[in-house]
């Protein structure tokens, strides 16, 4: 290791800065290498963190003592696509599982809805209002913005916030709509719950849903609310094994050919956390490679600079600069390249992330807010500064080792 001259850092910063500003185009080009890497890290990490937050926020609106049961295995796409349903018997087993307080079953399909002479396709939810309205209100996080909750068994519907604002702008409470030839009265408009799917739904009573669609048995999804004092994970495990055992007994198959997905908010949270963590690791990996490539660019520039300034190095040595002084000046210079790249990349990354955030505010596919932590900014700038210094190490050493007489004679 060589020594660094820390006595006159301020002056050496000035000298290094002058050199950088003298060779503007090259300095910009060198810096861009780092800018790109840092830009990727800052923009993609803040957006993916924002996405994670959005999902977790939605999960927080869902009660912690709620279990969602779906037929099929969530990790097996084909079984989910097969359109399996929970049977009446499944529902009975869920209800009888120890610790389950209430069960509400749901079904959904897409239908054409006519309102005010306009026809549009919407997502129709059939939910068991009589048993389950409480769960929707208290545990799923639904709340009425205008109007009131529907009365079970009546041709009354509630709509999500997007339906009333975008699908049928100007939709009013108390007006009529026609679905599959049957008239319904819009009684309530919900507040946004934070997911595009839920905010775009049209909800009716499950029994009416069944008669309307002709799908008389089963449901695609059920939500079970726990009795107080039970562990949500234990009940979820019990539910799953009960359902699987019953299915095996019925079909006579041995292993998990038939399966159920049993989700708790905690479990969804950890799945989301794992997936996003993996995505973020990949982002950091690729962006770090970009920054290292940028660092090689700095090294290249510094070698060129050392060669070009051979005479200058000779002059400085002649008038009293020690080896460590030369090292310090060159390291500062490459460090500045790194740091400027870090700052530039961070700014561009922030602008990009905020632009994406604004785009999603205008087109709310989901509610994304870029999450820029001070730690991320600090990390990016520090990391790029370090990369700059490391890249400058060898060129600086070459510069400091030059013999003054050789450097002065260099033309």
């Amino acid at each position: 290791m060589f020594k660094i001259d820390i006595n006159n850092l301020k002056e050496y910063f000035k000298i290094a800065f002058k050199t950088i500003t003298t060779r503007r185009v090259r300095s910009w080009l060198t810096t861009i290498g780092i800018v790109i890497g840092v830009f990727l890290i800052v923009s993609l990490l803040s957006l993916s963190q924002g996405l994670k937050n959005a999902v977790l926020h939605q999960l927080n609106m869902m009660g912690k003592d709620l279990i969602i049961i779906m037929p099929g295995d969530i990790t097996n796409v084909s079984s989910l696509m097969a359109g399996q349903k929970l049977t009446e018997e499944d529902m009975k087993i869920i209800k009888q599982t120890e610790g389950v307080d209430k069960v509400v079953s749901m079904d959904y399909t897409s239908v054409v809805m006519r309102y005010d002479n306009e026809k549009k396709t919407v997502l129709l939810y059939g939910a068991d209002w009589r048993n389950g309205l409480d769960i929707f209100k208290n545990d799923v996080g639904w709340s009425i913005n205008q109007g009131r909750w529907p009365v079970p068994q009546k041709n009354e519907i509630i709509v999500g916030s997007i339906v009333a604002s975008e699908t049928f702008p100007g939709m009013k409470i108390g007006t009529e709509t026609i679905i599959k030839g049957r008239k319904f009265i819009i009684v309530g408009i919900l507040n946004s719950v934070g997911s595009k799917q839920d905010d775009s739904m049209v909800g009716i009573d499950l029994n009416i849903f069944k008669s309307l669609t002709g799908e008389r048995t089963g449901a695609r999804e059920a939500m079970a609310k726990l009795k107080p004092g039970f562990s949500v994970n234990a009940v979820a495990d019990k539910l799953k094994s009960n359902l699987n055992e019953n299915r095996k007994r019925q079909i006579g198959q041995k292993e998990s050919d038939s399966s159920y997905t049993v989700l708790t908010s905690e479990k969804i949270g950890s799945i989301v956390g794992n997936v996003m963590g993996l995505i973020q690791a990949v982002i950091i990996g690729f962006a770090s490679i970009a920054i290292v490539v940028g660092g090689i660019g700095i090294m290249n520039t510094m070698y060129t600079s050392v060669r070009e300034r051979t005479k200058e190095i000779g002059i400085m040595k002649a008038i009293g600069a020690k080896n460590r002084t030369i090292v310090t000046i060159f390291l500062i210079e490459s460090g500045i390249f790194g740091m400027l790249g870090g700052i530039g990349g961070t700014l561009l990354g922030l602008i990009f992330a905020k632009a994406i955030e604004m785009y999603f505010q205008i087109h709310p596919l989901f509610y994304l807010k870029a999450d820029v932590s001070p730690g991320l900014i600090l990390f990016s700038i520090t990391f790029s500064f370090v990369i700059g210094c490391v890249s400058g190490y060898f060129p600086a050493r070459v510069a400091s080792k030059m013999k003054p007489v050789d450097a002065l004679r260099y033309e």
Partner: protein
Amino acid sequence: MAEALLKLENVWKTYKLGEIDLSVLKGINLEIMPGSFVTIMGPSGSGKSTLMYLLGLLDVASQGKVYLQGQDTSNFSEDRLAEVRGKKIGFIFQQFNLLQNLTALENVMLPMIFQGISEEKRKQKAKQLLESVNLAQRINHKPSEMSGGEQQRIAIARSLVNDPEILIADEPTGNLDSSTGKTVMEILTKLHREQKKTIVVVTHDPNIAHYSQNIIHIQDGQIKSNHFEDRKVLWEQENNNVKNV
């Protein structure tokens, strides 16, 4: 007798060119006394520049010893040599050797930065020296915006900032027209006369030699003659003889 400021004792400088050893300096013995004004003369390739680099501690001898104020410099580390150069030796080069991206003032202040002198003192001293070489109005200009004579005067100011014991000038007028060159030499003479600075000038220009008391003529890496002021005429005769041949 006073101690020599710089003393070379049987100094050789040999370069390895592949298989061949090329000796540029061959056993030089030389003393430079404090307060003297010495001219080193010789044709191209005679070794006078190499001698200057050794006197300025910019290079080390292959053999022999270089003493500065009685201290043997051959054991000095690179950093120690740099420190000694910064404190005790001022350089003036033919190419001026100013840093192009620094202003006149910054160029003059630079050697003081390496000595850790405070900014306030640096500015004061640099301004004072630039004034003394009549550049007070040009302190914020960069070398590229100045004439050769002005640049050389900046270099002189720079060489003086750390109050060196000795000034070493390598062809200081080589890139200047004769009247500008004269001004530069007059500044050096004045420094010698009024501030008792020790000055060593390396040149091939016989006119420069007139300013000095001691002329060392070097040829083929050896000192051919070492004339003092009273014998300068003799040297001139020799010089004419060489020319006539």
